[in-house]
Symmetry: C2
Subunit: 416 residues, 2 copies
């Protein structure tokens, strides 16, 4: 079984920044799921000398080498020649692959240019990985204790080849399982988590525990290795339980995408409807909620109320409140949450007003002062945030606070 | 001046596939703009031995090494120690950075855990790159003909540090000038541009010309090398002129951030006010517009109208239109644009309605059918889009179309 993998991406477009190396991310996730450690990602251009050096080095430090890219019809044979050559193999013509390529074009009713048949040149003695999602076949072989896999670069093809060709190929070699569980937290920073857990984390070996920052929220990942899935689960369970006891309501989910998803799922499950009135977040809450398909069942809509007139005319905040306290105030936030709930006939209303920055408002309120309010038929809760100078960060954090209030409300937790 | 760069990302979360190495993409694009060749991207985990080996190797083959990640409060000092150690430097406490970190927490009214001050440990004799977007400062130094730059990993911080700290730092080292000009296009894809310009691009050496894809729009970058800025400008001008003749109104700007910025600048310059009524984009247009500080002078606000009731009650679309044509229709789009303009007393109204997907609507309209409308006092223009199955892509493209219509209207170009 492979224990030390290196992923090598070949392509000048990566070095120019035209695309990100998402193939490496995808492959890394899959290998982690197989319990294979990935120690290096390397990106190199379409340059035979540099690729040859990278291959030599990978042979010294990895027992699984997966290359992506450099197999298509516009690439010359160099990538395959260099990779095969690093293991003393030549390229040979693979008639069956050539036939598949001819069929691919015939099926699409498109003429085939000759350079397409270069794709049927493959390292001698390799296992051919048929590509049903494009024209360039992949290949794999084992030699000197090293497993080599070559995959096409386009992410769609690479993903399909991984799932349907590579994982079955690698699983056959595997012993043992690896399992991860990620707890997601809001209201506590990655550094505060780490400060609390450092000693425990350092002494843990199986499972391991690691915190990650995640744009305004934080994650804690528990990873276990074992002989079976059940064994991994048994290792993870007590650690998860202890973390849940420690962090309680700060944990908004396990293995979930983000707060938006968690809040929306709760709305959908409980059939509770929501409406939003956003001043300084300017539609960000509505936009995130509507990122999710199917949310129209519970999201009534919202108002982006950048001016006092819109706050008054469309949301129904009283002129008195606006004049007396100013737009950035606890009472107006309350008025936004309550007003939009009534106006749109929703069960819950979410209101946000504040100074996102970088300039302060006409009443001299400080940058980063933001009020987020949630209203139901009986109560209205308001959080007062005092954030930093960064507009984007402030808008994001206010949005997360709004979603967190919805999440807490629907989970029966204290809202403020 | 640096000619051969290597980007080294430090972080186990990259090797686990939790995130993609988008920092490398961003840095690569920027370095390409400076005429610096990037030959390798390397990703390595939070492991001192492996990082040390990677550093040794980079010293052999690169004269510009940029590391990302490993500077935050939860990282121990190892990354900085290893990178500094590869150049025989120790870490020393940088009081000014420590004070900045303390201020950061004080301003946010949050307690600071002690591990945060680790971030103020920096290689002796380095140039400190202040981080105004997070807590971990970066640093840079030059030694043995090699320039080393260390940046924080979170993409938002890395991008800001690149723009405001690293590019000025690298520009100061340049001998001779390199100048780039990036034309931004909407309404034509990168591959169509490339097909039109391939022959010319291949024969050009100074300036060079390269197309990039950019989330729904495209860019064409002209890069010139010369003895002075004026010389570079003289090389770029005729190429830019020829491209402007060829692509005309498809070009929405040169060296601009995005369509949102261009549209908002035009609104601000001309003192024209805008209001939005968004169904399937769900607030995305409002959110992007309000990303920009100071836009409140021209953005009145908007309504996210996910239900027919909100379209009727808050935007003023007539019940008849909604019943007769259905929410996803040219007449309702028209009604949204006109209605919101009147309701909010704006000069321009922007309305969007469509089927973002993945499911079709209750009238069986196909996924990807979206109407985008712009209304002024005298006219209303509507674009009918027929897009693909991807919800996120559809919402983004509809948003860009809306902004493009505003841009064209204010530039005196045909709107539809």
């Amino acid at each position: 079984m492979a224990h030390q993998a290196e992923l090598i991406a070949v392509g000048t477009e990566l070095l120019l920044g035209s695309i990100a190396n998402t193939d490496a991310q995808m492959l890394s996730q899959a290998l982690a799921g197989l319990g294979i450690n990935v120690y290096y990602h390397t990106v190199v251009g379409d340059n035979p000398q540099r690729l040859a050096q990278v291959m030599e080095q990978a042979k010294q430090r990895a027992d699984l080498i997966i290359t992506t890219g450099g197999l298509g019809p516009t690439c010359d044979d160099l990538t395959k020649q260099v990779v095969a050559g690093a293991f003393g193999r030549k390229l040979v013509f693979h008639e069956e692959s050539a036939q598949r390529i001819r069929n691919y074009f015939a099926h699409k009713n498109r003429p085939m240019s000759d350079n397409n048949l270069q794709q049927a040149m493959l390292p001698e003695g390799c296992t051919v990985l048929d590509n049903d999602w494009g024209t360039a076949p992949g290949c794999a072989w084992e030699q000197d204790g090293i497993t080599v896999v070559m995959l096409p670069g386009p992410p769609r093809e690479c993903r399909a080849m991984l799932e349907h060709r590579v994982l079955p190929y690698l699983r056959d070699k595997g012993e043992g399982e690896i399992l991860s569980r990620t707890l997601c937290l809001f209201g506590i920073g990655e550094s505060a988590i780490e400060a609390q857990l450092r000693t425990e984390m350092e002494s843990m070996t199986n499972p391991t525990l690691a915190p990650y920052a995640k744009e305004g929220s934080a994650e804690l990942r528990i990873t276990a290795k074992g002989g079976s899935r059940a064994e991994c689960e048994a290792l993870i369970a007590p650690v998860e339980q202890a973390l849940r006891q420690r962090f309680g309501a700060l944990i908004y989910g396990a293995d979930v995408k983000d707060l938006t998803e968690v809040a929306c799922k709760l709305l959908l499950e409980q059939g509770v409807t929501l409406a939003t009135a956003e001043s300084c977040t300017g539609g960000m809450i509505a936009q995130r909620i509507t990122d999710l398909a199917g949310v129209s069942a519970v999201f009534k809509g919202g108002v982006v109320c950048y001016t006092n007139e819109v706050k008054r005319d469309l949301v129904g905040v009283s002129e008195t409140l606006l004049t007396e306290y100013g737009a950035v105030s606890e009472p107006v936030c309350r008025g936004l949450a309550e007003g939009i709930r009534r106006k749109l006939g929703a069960d819950l209303g979410l209101g946000v007003t504040g100074v996102a920055g970088p300039g302060s408002d006409d009443r001299g309120n400080p940058v980063g002062l933001i009020y987020v309010g949630l209203s139901d038929r009986a109560h209205t809760w308001v959080r007062e945030l005092r954030l930093g100078p960064d507009r984007a960060q402030n808008r994001n954090f206010a949005t997360l606070n709004g979603l967190d209030m919805v999440r807490r409300y629907l989970s029966g937790l204290p809202v403020e």
